[in-house]
Symmetry: C2
Subunit: 506 residues, 2 copies
């Protein structure tokens, strides 16, 4: 293993500031304008900005309810947005696979798990709305041709196994079928088409959008801006801002450009900020989530993230300094990210902890082979070999594994209270597979405030902004302080479907 | 003591939402407009919105640097805003009183204390800027005639005693002298004058404001709106939004109308939200601070808050259920508020803990008499009497006091690591004074992003918005997750002074 230069989070950054920072990822944008006297270049029924889970689901649902002229605009050259490159993990309560595996679950149970992770400030009404329609959304993906692994996973913070994962272990296993379905049913899709602001009627209602054509992400270009009238309304499904370093640092100065990020480069947040300019309420922007299952040995989401998500229930995460466990491997994301970030040397430099699995159990996941092949994970025949390689105290590690294997037998983790259900009969034993863990910026809990109709609330009137809907990561507040894994896809899809239903008055 | 109906924080609120909530405190506002073709009703040099610490300090500093036509606009009938009704506590490092009392302090030390309380996301650059100019701001208040108690206080989270308090134990001890000074030097002040939006030039610069005259807070009224041109610029010193229940609930659904609030009624946040509409960056709105020194037995800031702030260093806070301490009485505000909120019965109802002091030490504070007179605090001749009154287990309480008095002797708190410096020689003994504690919404850490020139950053360009400055609680991000007590007044004043200097190019 190369001793790569691992750039972790610094405790404090002196004198930061957007003005002093690097050039903005997003170029300066013209803001919204009054539609009065505007020459319309095009009139359509429904405008959807963004082609991730939320935008695609909205388009399919609107068409299902009779919309004839639905248009999806995507600023990148490819469709699918950030949705295409995550783990493809979909939580839903009361699914066919839960029935098959004998897992008892309910909307209440899923909502309660999420409220705990939200630490008191999640939006129970929105969570319940999403959980109640999650199975329906899952069915939409199945109808479109999505395929899933034939087993459920129990992700961190979930009290039962309720997570499906696409058989390609990637969000593209959903966005590609949904995109194809959109094309099949006649949804119009436009790539390299960038949102540049709303066109607003005399009562403050959204009547259209300004869209720059032939846009090339990250470049200044003079593509023509079209004024597009949206007869029914506009659905903003523009995603989060994890890739906008200046704006994420405005919330958390430790999230510098050096901190890894799992997101697609287009996740820069202009759609959200344009809604704030229109009067939408900013909620929970300060809560930016890091994925605790990521590896410092590869870029972005990589191979390790899915590998660890699968293996964490039956593996141990240990400190390199002591060989001891330091967290419940399936606690919620924030709990784990915080625990991992505390693994440092005396000078405060990161010492990424190790995730140790039995090779026999880890190899059930398709990524294991790739993780080892690309040197972002390693196989060891003995504990001695492993300990020498990473400089972990052998005695401490040996004692820790013996102790943990005792918990596997009794089903009770006396160190961290881990739910040992999925660890049953899975002792940690040679040969081992090991990856390193270090959190990467993954998800923005914050965004615009919406209600259970996917309407956007105005900060002065407290009423919904007419003609405007929002769905997916661009919305804020639903998850509170920390989102549970596999709860974003159901949220994006259900809220996209909800926005479509609101627009179609069904 | 009456067993009043104490409305605490519920764990989760089902189905909230601004749309479904009570009527908005702030009426619907016209938003900012292009100044093109606007008829100016008035032209002035500098417009300052808000008459609290920040606005008043800005007006005095601008005048000092040569401004001749400075106007402060205040929406309420009275001047001083929320600044007039807090504890009048002013932290500064390296003051004359610290020298007199032999307290070693520095800008670094004060900034470090604040960074700890900010939990990693405070803005070190802004904190350092404020701490470096805090003594200068304190001097401005002294020059204007403010008077302070002749002793320093060590507030929670501060590593030394560095806090002055006005001799009236109230912010009005600063706002009134500053207001008089404004009048003396010719600053124009306008009450019942409500900000209704910016007037914006062709390049997005702020060139003026729309101000509604004869405004009566909380009523719909047709007062005329004047277009006022600000030749040098506009300083927004409009404060926080703790009194806007819908907007604070959008960030934290537990902060319902039933939760107490220490703020003046005008703290409703329209100025901040109008800046978001202009493109300012929302920072840390989710971090709303509750004052852990407040009492559930009186409204607002009341008498108890100052009483407890003074007494906490040499008193014990105990659970009514066990008679045991449950926190370091001078930890930072968030640590204490969270600890107090955990005092509940089996059904989750609040059981406000008790703050027990020796009457002999508590009576050094001028509020002690009033606290007892108005039945929001009680004097007991013996521990038995106290325990019976509140239903606290006598044996547990007796043991706790004996244990704590041991710490007073040794100077080391083995329970919670409290700094015992100010507790020296102050045993807890009969007769006792007791108040109840329960957190009240007190301060919004969130607001618009500013730099150390008090300029407001634009979310798209990353540059400062020309003609616009902001100072005080309307700004966000400086303190991070939790602000230390007595650090708001120096921030408001220094940033108000800074805005004035930026405007006057000095």
């Amino acid at each position: 293993m190369s001793n790569i230069d691992l750039l972790g989070r610094r405790k404090f950054i002196a004198g930061l500031g957007i003005a002093a920072g690097a050039a903005m990822v997003a170029p300066a944008m013209a803001v919204s304008e009054k539609a009065d006297g505007v020459k319309w270049d095009k009139e359509v029924e429904i405008v959807i900005i963004g082609s991730g889970f939320a935008g695609l689901a909205a388009a399919i649902e609107a068409t299902k309810h009779g919309a004839k002229d639905v248009h999806i605009f995507e600023k990148m050259s490819y469709f699918g947005g950030n949705s295409a490159i995550n783990g493809g993990l979909f939580a839903a309560p009361g699914t066919p696979m839960q029935k098959k595996e004998g897992v008892e679950d309910s909307v209440d149970r899923m909502v309660n798990d999420q409220l705990l992770s939200g630490r008191g400030i999640a939006d129970e009404g929105l969570l319940r709305h999403v959980a109640s329609h999650a199975v329906e959304a899952l069915q939409m993906t199945l109808d479109a041709g999505s395929e899933y692994h034939p087993y459920l996973q129990q992700l961190g913070g979930h009290s039962v196994a309720r997570t499906y994962q696409t058989s390609v272990s990637c969000g593209a296993g959903i966005t590609q079928p949904l995109y194809k379905e959109c094309k099949r049913i006649g949804v119009n899709t436009h790539n390299r088409s960038k949102f540049e602001g709303f066109l607003v009627g005399n009562k403050g209602e959204v009547v259209g959008v300004k869209m720059r054509q032939n846009y090339h992400f990250g470049e200044d270009q003079p593509g023509k801006v079209l004024n597009i009238r949206a007869k029914r309304g506009v659905i903003m499904a523009t995603g989060g801002f994890a890739q906008n370093v200046d704006l994420r640092m405005a919330q958390d100065p430790t999230l510098t450009a050096d901190v890894g990020c799992t997101n697609a480069p287009g996740a820069t947040g202009e759609g959200m900020f344009e809604m704030f300019r229109l009067g939408a309420i900013p909620v929970h922007l300060a809560h930016i989530q890091s994925g605790p299952w990521a590896s410092p040995d590869e870029g972005g989401f990589g191979y390790v993230s899915n590998y660890s998500i699968f293996n964490l229930p039956h593996s141990i995460a240990v400190s390199r300094t002591t060989g001891k466990r330091f967290m419940n491997e399936i606690a919620d994301r924030k709990t784990r990210a915080d625990a991992e970030l505390s693994n440092r040397d005396e000078k405060g430099n990161p010492v990424p902890p190790l995730l140790i699995s039995s090779f026999k159990d880890s190899k059930a996941h398709p990524n294991t082979e790739k993780v080892i092949k690309y040197n972002v994970g390693w196989k060891f025949e003995s504990l001695e070999e492993l300990a020498t390689h990473f400089g972990v105290p052998l005695a401490g590690l040996k004692a820790q594994i013996a102790e943990y294997n005792g918990y596997v037998k009794t089903g009770e983790d006396k160190q961290f209270g881990k739910d040992m259900t999925l660890a049953k009969n899975k002792m940690i034993e040679a040969p081992f597979t090991v990856v390193r863990l270090w959190p990467k910026v993954h998800y923005c809990q914050g965004g615009v405030k919406v209600n259970t109709k996917a309407e956007v609330t105005d900060s002065f009137t407290g009423k919904s902004i007419t003609g405007l809907y929002a769905a997916g990561e661009v919305c804020g507040g639903i998850h509170g302080v920390s989102r549970l894994g596999s709860c974003s896809i159901p949220e994006c899809m259900v809220m996209g479907m909800t926005a479509a239903r609101s627009l179609m008055n069904v």
